[in-house]
Symmetry: D2
Subunit: 406 residues, 4 copies
C-alpha cells in the first residue's frame, strides 16, 4: 500500500534466524550484499506485470468491446486470489493437525488465528458482491455471449476448498445432471479426486475432538456422568409435574417431558448416531460429538478456552460459505432471472439448491444447541482433583515449534 | 464464481451487434464456429495461471519461509487489481468528458454509474484492511527485513489514480524529503509526469460545472439574483434585530449578523476567490463554484437530479480515499509503532500527514455547506418560463452513444 | 453524536420559512425567545430517559440475572428503531405516489433518495447480526426460558413493513399452523388488517409504471414495435440456421431457437400473464411490465435515468430483505439448532421457508432479465421526433412541492 | 426479530438455577404459573411503547415539519442504545478486574469475549454513518436551527465511556475553550467527575499486566535476561560491521546500530519511562510494559494465548474509536463545511483535533512494535523447568464463578 515503509534501515541489522557457523564467517560479506542498493522493489515483489496485465476482454477480441466486462474479470480474479489465500491457511492448519503438532498446545493459537483469518476473508468475499452488483442485468447481457462456455462452476480452487474442508462427494448437488468432477477437464478432474482423498479439515477436527481430555472412561468419564445427570434431572421434573393438580398445562408439560426424554435417549444411542452418520445427517463420530459437547459445557476452563473459540470459528466458516452462496444466488437472480429459457435446469436453481445444510460441513456443531441443559445438570468439576483442565501439554520438539510446521 | 452459468445456450443465437453484410454472408459458417465445442473456459478466461502463480515469498527465497508473507502479498495484489479497475472506470469517465460526449445528457447515467462504482470499490478497499489486520506486528516483523527496499509508496497505480483525480503536485507531502516522483524509477517517473499533464477529473468537472444552464447573465442569471436575495435577506434580519429591545441576546445576534455579512461578501468577491485558489484552499473556478451551488439549490429540477448525485459521489470518493488513508495509518501504527527507530521521518508520520484536507480534491463541494441559505432566499424558478430545467440536451451522434465512447 | 455542533449561532438569524405578516410583527419578540438561553439539550431532544431506561432483564426480575440478556434486548430495540425509520420513509414515498405528486417529476429525486435510504438501512440491519452473533448458544440458553412466550414473530412493525411493501397475505407461510394475523392480539391484528387494505408500494409502483411515456398505442407504441422486432429477429436467426450444413450444432441451435420463440410468445400473451398473476408467480399488471421493460431498454434517456435507478433500488430492497431473513435463519440455526425438540414446526424451519421468492415483492423486475434482447432489436428512438423522453413534466402546485407532501 | 421462537415448550421444564427447598415445595403451583397463557410478549418485553414513541421532531413542534429530522433522531438514539450496551460490557469487565476474579483464569474467556463484543459494536457504529450520510447538507440545513443549543458533545454516555476506558482528563482537547465537564449541567457534571475517579480499564489492565507470571526477579526474570540478550545481540552486530571493509554501507549500518542502541537503552531506562509517563506519552507503568512485552513474545504459550488476544482487542477498541471519530469528522465536514461562519473554533476543527493519539488509551501497546527483536534474542523457555506457562490458576470460589460476578 502507498507509503507504508515496510522496510526500515534497522532491519539491515537484524536477521531473524540465528546465524550458523558458516554465516558467522561470511558476516562481513553478507553485510555488503544485504545492504546493496539493489534489492527488490514493490512492483517486482508483487509481480504486478502479471497481475495487472491479465485482463483480456473477450468482447474486445470479438470486436465489440464492452466496458463492464473488465469489472467482471477483475472481480473474479480478486475472488480467486482470496481463494488461494484461504487454501494457504487451510493447508497450513491441516498440516499442523496431520503431523500431530496440534498435540503441542502452543500450536492452538496458530490454528485458531489461521482459521479466524479464513473467517475474515470470507466476510470480505461476502461484501465483495456489492461491487459486482453495480453491473446491471443489461450491462451483463451485452457481453454474456462471449464467455461461452466458461462458467464459474469451473472454479477449480473453490471446489478444492470445499473438498479440503469436507463437503462430501455424495452430498453434492449434480450440475447439468453430471457428477461435479465431470464438469472439469481431465487434469483438473484428477486434482479434484486427489483432494477428495486427503484428510479433510472435518476429519482432522474429528480426530482431535475424540482425544478431548475428560472423556476417558477410567478418568473423569464425562459421558456417563452426563447421561446419569440428565435422566436424574428429567425424572425429578416428572415427579414435579405428577404432583401438580390436573390441568391442561399439566398435560402439556407431561407431553413435553416425554419428548425431551426421547430426545436425550437418542443422544446416548450410538447405533442411532451411526445411522444418521450413514445418511449424512451427522458428520462427526460419536466420540467426537462427546468431545465437542464437553468443550461446550466446560468452555471456561483454561485448556478449553481456545478450543471453544476454534469450534465457534468453524461454524463461522460454514455460515459464511453459505451466506456467500446465498449472495451469489441473489446476484444471479438479478443478472439472468430465475427461469432459464427452457427445460434445462437453470443456473439459478442449481445455485439455490446448494444453499442447503447439506453443504454445512460442521452442521453437528450447530445442532448441539438442541442438547443444551441447565448448568446444574452438567457434571461438576473440582479443580483440586481435575487438574487436567489446568495443565496444557507441550512437546518441545523443534519440529513443531519451527516455522516449517506450516 | 462457482456455478454461475454465464453462458446459456440461447446466446448462441444472439449477436449484440447488428450484422454487417459480410457477416450475413458468412452466417452459416459463423454459426458453426460459435457453437464449436471449443470456446474459452473459466481458468483461461481469467488467466488464472498468471494470477495464482504470482505469490513468491521473499522469506522463502532467503531460506526462512514465513507463513504470513503470503497474506501480505495477496492483500497487496488484491489492492492493485482494484486500483486497475478504478483506473478503468476513471479513464472511461474522463473520456466522456474530454470528447464532449457529456453534453449529450443521455451519457450522464453512464458517468454517474461509473463514478458510483468507484465509490463502491473504495468502500470495499476500506473494509479490506480487516483481513490484513489479522496479521500481528510480531508476524510482520518476522519477514519485514526481506522486503527492503520495497515500499507501498511505490505503488505506481495509486499515484496515477491520485494524479488523474486531481491531487495537485504542489500540495503533496514530500516523502523522505524528496519530491514524490523522485521515489520512482525513470520509466515510472515519466508515466507519472505524463499523467500530471492530462486533464484531471477535477478539471473536467470544473469545465462541465461552468456550463451549468441558468448561470447565463442574459438568461436566468442565477448569480446576480442570488446575491441580491442574500443581502436583502440579511438587511431584513438587521432591521428585525435593531427593533429588539437592548439585551445580551440582541448584541450577540448583531455580532453574528456582521459575521454572516462578511462571509457572504467574501462569497461574491471574485478576487478573493482567485487568491484562495492560488493557495490551494479552493480548487474550482469562480464560475464552476456558481454552477455547483446552483445544482445544490435546484437539485430537484429534472435536469439537475443526476448532476446532484454526481456531485455527491465525488465527495464520496474524497471521503473514502481519506478514510482509506486513515485506516492505513491505523494499521501501520499497529505494525511498526509510531516512532521510527531513528531521526528520519517515520512511515507513520508521513502517512498521518496525508490524511489531510489538502488531499481532498473536491474540497470546495464540502465547503459549499458554509453558504447554504433558507429556501425562500433562493431565486424562484417558474417552470412556465424557465423551461431549460425540463428539457435535456442530446446530440444524436453515433460516436457518443456507441460503446467506443468509453 | 459527540462534538457535532448541530447548532451554530448564525442560525439564530435564519428562519427556513418565509415569515407571515403576523410573524413579521412579532419579530423582535420572537428573536428574544429564540435566543433565550433555554432551548433544548441533547438528552432531552433524544428523550434518552426513555431510550436508555427501557432495558429490563426478565432474568433479573426472576432472580437470576444473566449478563447477555442485555445485549439481546438492546439489539432488538435497535432493530425496532430502524424499522420505525423504514416505515417513516416508506410512508412518505407512498404518500407522494398516493397524492399524485409523483407526476411532478421534480419529486422523483425525493422518492429515489428515500427508497435508497431504506436500502442503506437494510444493509446496516444485515450487518447488525454480527453483534448478536457474539452471543453463543450456551449464553442464550441461560435466559431463554424467561422470555416465554415472547417471540420475534410478534414484531408488529416488521409485519406492517411487509404489508406496506406488498407481501401478499395469501403467499405467507403459516406460523404454528395459524394465519399470521392470528398470532397477534386483537388490537394489533386490526392494525395489520388495516395496513393490508392500504395501497402497497407494489401497487403504487405498478400504477406509475402503467403510465410510462412511450407505451401509448397512438404514440410511440413500444410494445407492438418491440413484438415485431423480436419475431423478425428470430425469423432471421432461423433462416441462418437453416442455411447451415447439417450437424449436431445445427440441431442444437434449432432446438434452442424454438424454445426462444416459445419464451417470447409467452411474453406477449396477456392471458398467460394474467394466469401467472393469479397464481402469484407474477405481481405486476401486463401494462406495468411493459413500462418496466421500456425503462430498462431506454434507461439512458434523460427522463428514464432516475426511474431506472428506482427500479434497481426496489430490487435492492427485496434482495436485502431476503438476505436479512437468511442471516436470521443462520443465527437461529446456531442458537437453537435445526431440530425443535418435538413435533411442532421448529422456528428454524419456519424461518427457512420465508427465504423464498414468494416473499420477493418485486420478483417481476428480477425476472425481466429473462427477456433481454440484443440492443439492435430494441425499437429505435429518434430524439427529433420522440421529444417526450427529453421533457419532464412538472405541476407547479405548492401542494406537491411543499414539505407537507411527505 | 421476526419469527424467532425464543421460547420453545421444553423450556417450561428447565430451570437454570438449582431449585431451593422452598421452590421444591412450590413446585406444582409454580408449574401452573409458568405455563399460564399469560407471560410476557415481544412488545412489552422490549418496552417498544417507549422506544418507538420517542421521536419528537422539533421542526414539527415549530410548525415546519422536516422529513429528515426523523432520521437524525433515530440515528442518534441508535448510537445511544449501543453506547449503553458498551457500558454494560465495560462495567462487567471492570468488575471482574476490580473484584480480583480475574486471578481465576477461567474468567479470562468472559473478559476476552466481552471486550471483543465491544469491538464488534464499535465496528457497527463505524458502519452506521453510512445511513446518516444519506442526508445531504441541504436536508440538514432545513432543520438545523431548531436543534439549538443541543449538541452531540453533550452525549453523557460517550463521555462516561471515554472516562471508564481511560481517556485522561488532562489530555482532552478543550471544547469552546472550556473544560469538557463545564459543557454539562450540574448533575451530569458530577456523574462525569465520579467516573473519572473510578478505576479505569487502563488502570485495571495495568495492574493485571504487572502480575504477569515470569517477571519475578527471583524466578524467570524476563526483563534482566531480555536486556542482556539485546545488548549481546547488538554487540555481535557491531563486531560484524566493524569487520566489514570500509564503504558507504558500512558507515550507514554503523549509524543505524548506534540509533538502535539508543532506542533499547531508552527501553531499559526506568527514569525516562516515568518522564514520558508524566507527559502522557506513555500510559502504562514500567512493570506493566514489561508484562505486555512478555505476553507479546511468548504469546503461543498456553497461559498467554488468551491474554495476547485481549491485548489485541484493546488495540482494536482504540483503533475503532479513533475511526469512529474520523468518520464523524468526515460527516461533519460534509454537513457544515470546514469553516465555521467566523472566528470561533468550528465544530469541524474541534472534532478533527480529537482524532489524535492523545485519545488512544492503549497507545503503549501499539508502540511496543518499536521494540521487537529477532526470535533468537528472546530469552529461551524450557517447558520442563518453566512450568508456570502451562499451569493456569483458578480459585474455586463460588463468588467468582457465579453470574453475579458481572
Amino acid at each position: 500500500m502507498s507509503g507504508c515503509p515496510y522496510f526500515e534501515k534497522r532491519h539491515l541489522l537484524f536477521k531473524n534466524k540465528p546465524p550458523t557457523a558458516e554465516e558467522e564467517e561470511d558476516a562481513s560479506q553478507a553485510g555488503v550484499n544485504k545492504a546493496s542498493k539493489g534489492g527488490i522493489i514493490y512492483g517486482e515483489y508483487l509481480q504486478l506485470d502479471k497481475i495487472v496485465s491479465a485482463q483480456v476482454l473477450q468482447s474486445e477480441l470479438k470486436g465489440n468491446k464492452i466496458h463492464d466486462e473488465h469489472l467482471f474479470i477483475v472481480t473474479h480474479q480478486a475472488y480467486e486470489l482470496w481463494f488461494k489465500q484461504i487454501l494457504w491457511e487451510l493447508d497450513s492448519v491441516r498440516h499442523i493437525f496431520i503431523t500431530g503438532c496440534v498435540r503441542d498446545e502452543r500450536n492452538m493459537l496458530k490454528v485458531n488465528n489461521r482459521i479466524h483469518r479464513i473467517v475474515m476473508i470470507f466476510k470480505l468475499l461476502v461484501d465483495q458482491f456489492s461491487v459486482l452488483e453495480t453491473m446491471t442485468a443489461l450491462d451483463f447481457f451485452d457481453f454474456r455471449e462471449y464467455l461461452a462456455p466458461a462458467s464459474g462452476f469451473q472454479s477449480l480452487q473453490f471446489r478444492i476448498l470445499e473438498n479440503k474442508i469436507g463437503v462430501p462427494d455424495n452430498l453434492r448437488v449434480p450440475y447439468n445432471r453430471r457428477h461435479y468432477r465431470d464438469n472439469f477437464k481431465g487434469h483438473e478432474s484428477e486434482i479434484l479426486l486427489a483432494t477428495e482423498q486427503e484428510p479433510t479439515l472435518l476429519k482432522l477436527v474429528e480426530e482431535w475432538l475424540e482425544r478431548t481430555p475428560g472423556l476417558e472412561v477410567d478418568g473423569f468419564n464425562f459421558w456417563e456422568r452426563f447421561e446419569i445427570n440428565i435422566f436424574d434431572g428429567l425424572n425429578k421434573e416428572k415427579e414435579k409435574i405428577e404432583a401438580m393438580e390436573d390441568s391442561e398445562d399439566k398435560e402439556e408439560m407431561m407431553l413435553e417431558l416425554i419428548k425431551q426424554k426421547e430426545l436425550f435417549t437418542s443422544l446416548f444411542d450410538e447405533k442411532r448416531h451411526d445411522h444418521l452418520l450413514s445418511k449424512g445427517e451427522r458428520r462427526l463420530s460419536y466420540k467426537a460429538l462427546q468431545g465437542a459437547l464437553m468443550i461446550y459445557f466446560y468452555r471456561e476452563e483454561p485448556r478449553f478456552q481456545v478450543p471453544f473459540q476454534l469450534l465457534t470459528s468453524l461454524m463461522d466458516i460454514d455460515t459464511l460459505m453459505t451466506k456467500w452462496r446465498y449472495n451469489h444466488v441473489c446476484m444471479v437472480h438479478r443478472m439472468i432471472g430465475s427461469k432459464a429459457g427452457t427445460g434445462g435446469s437453470s443456473g439459478y436453481h442449481y445455485l439455490r439448491s446448494t444453499v442447503s445444510d447439506r453443504y454445512k460441513v460442521f452442521v453437528d456443531l450447530f445442532n448441539l444447541a438442541t442438547f443444551l441443559v441447565p448448568r446444574h445438570w452438567v457434571p461438576k468439576l473440582n479443580p483440586n482433583i481435575h487438574k487436567f483442565l489446568y495443565m496444557a501439554e507441550c512437546c518441545d520438539s523443534s519440529y513443531c515449534s519451527s516455522e516449517d510446521s506450516d
